[in-house]
Amino acid sequence: MTHLAHLHCPSQRDPCMNHEKLPPTPVDQSDPARHVFGGQPVLTFGDEGQRRKFLRAAAVVGFGSTLVALSQRDKFALADATADDLEILNYALTLEYLEADFYTQGLDGGVLDGRDLELVTPIRDHEQEHVTVLTDTVKSLGGKPAAKPKFTYPDGTFDDKKTFLTTASTFEELGVTAYHGQVARINDGDILAAAASIAGVESRHAAVVADLLGGNPFPSSFEKNKSMKAVLKAAGPFIES
């Protein structure tokens, strides 16, 4: 029914201004590897090993298991929350675990100083707060919070500022598209408001990290979104177990 649902700009800056009718770009359920991060595939699934990593990421999030958790949940839990909502919260939790772990290791590596350090330190703190709040929220709904996975990063990720921040940018942009991909799936108003309040902070992070790298903090007039499947595919290689 809606036009606005389709207003995502397909490319960098100007298309929205030049088209009377904006091209339809629904939530992307297609193969993600091709378009993650502005058409520059950082992670592709060429082989069976990578596919298995994706499946492992999916298992970590706990597809299916949330249904059981929900049937046992306290009747006092949020009235409108559904199994989908729990799954989304555990999915978000897994991504926040990844970010929190990544920034903790990166900042421990000591490659940042001055204003860079000042701007990135709160990002780590935010991701840790997101982990705490999401964990508590899943519990309050009677669900089982996803366990913290063991993460792995390519060699040298934390050895210099540029590699650290480039990887950070990848994670932040992924996180933004992940939250925006779930907005329409959330059934409970409170969970929606909370998820949105986190998503906005991830957008701030993405912009700041892009600026620190000398990149473009405003790659589009509208945040893009990715399906859960697409995001887990991208995050899978960083999840060891």
Binding site: D136, V183, V201
Partner: protein, 202 residues
């Protein structure tokens, strides 16, 4: 203990995890009452985007900036203009009438680079809070919600970068904690009213 209403209105500086949880456990009292329906939310957003687009048009025309700041604020102007176009089209496609652009007066905002950046910073953070406050009113309108959220995220990017350009403290300047804070319609109108020539039903 932080009062939940203070938290929702954005006056609480820090949200400890336990309070964040409490926030999730209760309905956002104001949201449903603030708007009469989806078109009302969209026209509210459109008014704010008109205000921002015109603000940057005038500010960039004043030629106060150079280098990276100039590039960034030109990009931001284009974003706001894109938001105006998209919101107007959407309201029209729903069979409703988009509100007209408000008459605005930005006073001394363009007197200096510093005042331009500071006012822009204020506008962007207000926009972020306004969208977040309105989000629950679009809960049942999934397509509109996704779209409004996609604008909200970009406003958050603008807000952060304006904090960087203004050389603000990281926490409490570039960022406002681990969670964005929603604002009520009344609070947003109050904050925007100095720039509106006529009284608005924002």
């Amino acid at each position: 203990m932080i009062n939940r209403r203070d938290l929702i209105k954005g006056t609480a500086a820090v949200i400890p995890a336990a309070v964040g949880l409490q926030m999730l456990g209760t309905k956002w009292a104001f949201a449903a009452d603030d708007f009469s329906g989806p078109v009302d939310v969209l026209n509210y957003a459109l008014t704010l985007e008109y205000l921002e687009a015109e603000f940057y048009r005038q500010g960039n025309q004043a030629d106060l900036l150079t280098g990276k700041a100039k590039t960034y604020l030109e990009d931001i102007q284009k974003d706001e203009e894109a938001h105006v176009v998209a919101l107007k089209d959407t309201i029209t496609s729903l069979g409703a009438t988009p509100v007209a652009a408000p008459e605005v007066d930005f006073g001394a905002a363009f007197k200096s680079k510093a005042s331009y950046l500071e006012t822009a910073y204020t506008f962007e953070n207000l926009g972020v809070s306004a969208y977040l406050g309105a989000a629950p009113s679009l809960l049942k309108e999934k397509g509109l919600l996704t779209a409004a959220a996609s604008i909200f995220g970009v406003e958050a990017r603008h807000a952060a970068i304006l904090g960087v350009l203004g050389e603000k403290e990281a926490e409490g300047g570039v960022y406002n904690g681990a969670f964005e804070k929603p604002a009520t319609r009344a609070a947003v109108l109050k904050a925007a009213s100095p720039f509106l020539v006529k009284a608005q039903t924002l």
